[in-house]
């Protein structure tokens, strides 16, 4: 596994900082329920960035990709089916 140059890590950090600034400032604008979707979207983007570059998922085996996705997928199963109950009460 070739070790990537420090510049790549710094670029990732800058991207994360920019995303943080965006989500923070957008929260001052009232977009109604769109606020939540936007905030979650940016959070997911930041999480993927961290996983790809800082946690070296990029270029690692397909198995690790699946394990990384499995945790989130199972959480979505829990969230969706429970909300399925609360929304249809």
């Amino acid at each position: 596994m070739t070790t990537s140059p420090p510049k790549l890590y710094w670029k990732t950090f800058v991207a994360l900082a920019v995303l943080l600034a965006i989500t923070w400032s957008v929260s001052y604008v009232d977009l109604g329920s769109f606020n939540l979707i936007f905030a979650l979207g940016i959070a997911v983007a930041k999480a993927i960035l961290i996983m790809l570059f800082f946690m070296h998922i990029r270029g690692s085996s397909r198995l690790l990709h699946f394990v990384a996705a499995a945790g989130v997928l199972w959480l979505l199963i829990l969230l969706s089916l429970v909300l399925g109950d609360y929304m249809t009460r």
Binding site: G71, W74, I77, L78, L81, V82, G84, D85, T88, R89
Partner: protein
């Protein structure tokens, strides 16, 4: 292991049969056991530990059955009865059913089946056992100080605001036991992925490995939710957090969602390893390759995944929305299909086999019979309209005991008898083994079949006093329980007897084809001399050849 030679067991000191330098003789004294990182020894440590918890829970069950002989609750007070069924539930679920096959048979046999020297993280494996012992100590501490009377489901708001028993120490015990099984799950997944012998591709793995791989997936993905649920319940009981407290706007149904999100996959954690053992036993004792290998292997994975989306069938009458109930009911029907595939494939495996009926095979056939009844009655409780009537009655008790006791414990007994020669190098007494298997089968049916009738008649569960018209069936059930008790005590006796006086087993007493049978019994510390190479698919049995062999020396 100094064997005293007598008439029946003349041990030829240097016979190839009994491997003298093995994992049992490689270290002596308590320290060699308490600090071992050998997966085989850790399996045995787990065997003794779960035996302790099984006996305590069995005593609780016996007391409950005696109590239910009479309609009036006269043997024990209602407070004690509530604590009895809670400790029976907690100890059986978390300290016997969930750990037994993975940590005892799995720990012992998985590395040998895939040709590895040990599990991926041996030190973590030992740490998992210490966590399990600490968890058991916490649970017993809570029991000694008065026990818990919330039921093994800990439903709020009773467990958080109204119960005045030792809920938090029991919840802490289960919390720690959860992490012990998470670590075992991680260990098995990494071992099966990374440490298979050369040539051992995924579709050449024995079905026991498939079953334990699927079980480990559930262990790893479901148990953390139990941990957070019990933590939240305990924090709410201590400081009145209010997440589940209706007065603060919390919702007790949310606790049920979180609890059953873990607890339904947990019942698949209990049954899947049993299915893995049965696949091994049926193929070995009918001398025939399993029918539909890929389908049986993939049905284990299908059960693991589908097991996560069906938990709502525990909450059909709990004021969950009827539409969510319908979604869960349909999904619960679909999760029964892979189990059906397995039973049909086992039946088809017997076709054109050369079937023998040693003790493991009796337990395997018993498993298929009882598990099929248990699984089919699962369809009744998955049907919305019928579950409204039978939910929380003895019908449900009979359903899950048919699967847990009729299925999982039978499979555990079958697996223990099957691998006993490999673990100890000695054979159990065949006659007593068969007798115990038959007594268990009869006792079990007499205990739990009447409970189906009781359930549909409407006797609620967790009642220590009941209307007189249910008495006759309850007496039948208690009678059966006494026979079942005998059925379980017999193996305890003759297994201990066989340690000293059992016939020497030799490397492969069943002439089985698994990798674990290619090395000595009891196996050396590193399982194999060199690293075994696997060239063929598992279960290369030949029924025709077996018949000639049998005819030759008959």
């Amino acid at each position: 292991m100094n064997a005293t030679p007598n008439a029946t067991t003349t041990i030829v000191r240097h016979s190839g049969a009994y491997a003298l330098d093995n994992y049992l003789t490689s270290g002596q004294g308590v320290k060699s056991w308490l600090l071992t990182t050998d997966h085989k020894r850790i399996g045995i440590l787990y065997l003794w530990t779960i035996l302790v918890f099984f006996l305590i829970a069995a005593v609780a069950a016996a007391l409950m059955r005696i109590e239910l002989l009479t309609p009036a609750g006269d043997l024990v007070t209602s407070e004690t009865y509530n604590k009895l069924f809670t400790i029976h539930g907690v100890l059986m679920v978390w300290f016997f059913l969930i750990p037994s096959i993975p940590t005892v048979l799995g720990n012992f046999v998985i590395p040998m089946m895939i040709g590895a020297r040990d599990v991926a993280f041996p030190r973590l494996n030992l740490f998992s056992w210490y966590l399990f012992v600490a968890a058991g100590a916490l649970a017993l501490w809570s029991l000694i100080h008065g026990g818990v009377d919330t039921g093994w489901t800990f439903y709020t708001p009773y467990s958080t605001t109204y119960a005045n028993s030792h809920v938090i120490s029991m919840a802490a015990g289960i919390f720690v036991a959860g992490f012990s099984s998470i670590i075992t799950g991680i260990n098995f997944i990494v071992t099966i992925h990374k440490m298979r012998a050369p040539g051992l591709r995924w579709f050449r793995l024995p079905l026991f490995i498939w079953a334990l791989y699927a079980t480990s997936l559930i262990l790893v993905l479901a148990t953390p939710v139990l941990a957070i649920t019990l933590a939240l319940m305990s924090v709410e009981r201590l400081w009145g957090v209010g997440i589940f407290d209706p007065k603060l706007g919390g919702d007790p149904i949310l606790f049920q969602h979180l609890f059953w999100f873990y607890s339904h996959p947990a019942v698949y954690i209990m049954i899947l390893p049993g299915m893995g053992v049965i696949s091994e036993l049926i193929t070995c004792f009918s001398r025939k390759r399993v029918f539909g290998y890929a389908w049986v292997g993939c049905s284990s994975m299908a059960i693991a995944v589908l097991g996560f989306v069906v938990w709502g069938h525990h909450m059909f009458v709990s004021s969950q929305s009827i539409y969510a109930g319908m979604i869960f009911s349909l999904l619960s029907f679909l999760v029964a299909v892979p189990s059906g595939i397995k039973v049909f494939n086992w039946t088809a495996t017997l076709y054109k086999g050369s079937i023998t009926f040693q003790t493991p095979m009796l337990y395997a056939l018993g498993f298929i019979g009882l598990f099929t009844i248990g699984g089919l009655t699962g369809l009744c409780v998955a049907t919305l309209a019928v579950d409204v009537h039978v939910h929380d009655t003895y019908f449900v008790i009979a359903h899950f005991h048919y699967i847990m006791v009729g299925g999982m414990v039978m499979a555990f007994m079958g697996g223990l008898h099957y691998w006993w020669p490999k673990i100890t190098g000695r054979l159990y007494p065949e006659f007593w083994g068969k007798l115990a298997a038959m007594i268990t089968f009869i006792g079990f049916n007499l205990t739990f079949f009447p409970q189906f009738l009781l359930g549909y008649l409407g006797m609620p569960r967790r009642y220590h006093a009941y209307p007189p018209e249910f008495q006759m069936l309850n007496v039948l059930s208690s009678a059966g329980a006494s026979i079942l008790g005998v059925g379980y005590m017999l193996p305890l006796i003759y297994f201990l007897w066989s340690l000293k006086r059992g016939r020497v087993a030799g490397p492969n007493p069943w002439r089985a084809t698994g990798l674990e049978w290619q090395t000595g019994s009891p196996p050396p510390v590193h399982n194999f001399e060199g690293t075994p190479i696997v060239t063929a698919s598992p279960y290369m049995y030949d029924a025709e050849a077996d018949r000639e062999l049998h005819m030759a020396n008959a």
